[in-house]
């Protein structure tokens, strides 16, 4: 599996401390998505590391209600959802550094603690208009 290459953290240990449920909402596509299967395998593997993590799968083409609700444009996509949807998404196969980021986002969503400074949180809490942040990354 992609995720085994150069994995720098002990995912099992990281995820063992989760005390709140997190759902990985996975969006796949039946045709023309070579990376959907490896992405789903990583999602399943991450979910297997904690009883608190569950997986829901939807189809980008067929499940239009969920695609719209989560604002998904492409597959593979993962929405990291806690008690509520926090708007955190991963597009593509989450391997390498991205696997670490996925695990970290699960921990953030489960804890509800952003880890940001009080000053930063105050600035962000004052936002009243939509902000869409896309971070382009590579696995290495």
């Amino acid at each position: 599996m992609h995720a085994d290459a150069g994995e720098p953290v002990d995912l099992e240990a990281e995820l063992a401390n989760i005390t709140a449920p997190v759902t990985l909402v996975f969006f796949t596509q039946t045709f023309g998505c070579e990376t959907c299967l490896p992405a789903r395998q990583i999602v399943d593997r991450v979910a297997s590391l904690s009883d608190q993590i569950s997986v829901e799968e939807f189809n980008l083409v067929l499940d239009t209600d969920q695609v719209e609700a989560y604002g998904i444009q492409r597959a593979p996509a993962i929405a990291v959802v806690g008690e509520a949807d926090t708007g955190i998404r991963f597009y593509g196969v989450p391997d390498g550094h991205e696997l670490v980021s996925l695990v970290e986002s699960i921990l953030l969503v489960a804890s509800g603690n952003s880890g940001l400074s009080d000053e930063s949180q105050a600035l962000i809490a004052a936002v009243e208009q939509p902000i869409d942040i896309q971070v382009f990354v590579t696995p290495t």
Binding site: I88, Y91, S101, S117, S120, V127, V135
Partner: protein, 59 residues
């Protein structure tokens, strides 16, 4: 940031899998952050600087 505000969404996009987006947003290196399709932040920057640049998108 997405965790703190219901108005903020944050996506990590695997650049190699979406060449159309890479072209659209002229991604020549990673990490590259694009905010509301108009603010661009190159590389990893300190928290305060990152947040101030992101908030410029709605200033």
């Amino acid at each position: 940031m997405a965790l703190v505000s219901p108005h903020i969404t944050a996506s990590a996009v695997a650049a190699v899998e979406y060449p159309d987006l890479v072209r659209q947003y002229r991604v020549t290196g990673v990490p590259k952050t694009v905010v509301n399709d108009r603010i661009e932040i190159l590389g990893a920057v300190p928290e305060a600087s990152f947040i101030s640049q992101v908030l410029e998108s709605v200033a």
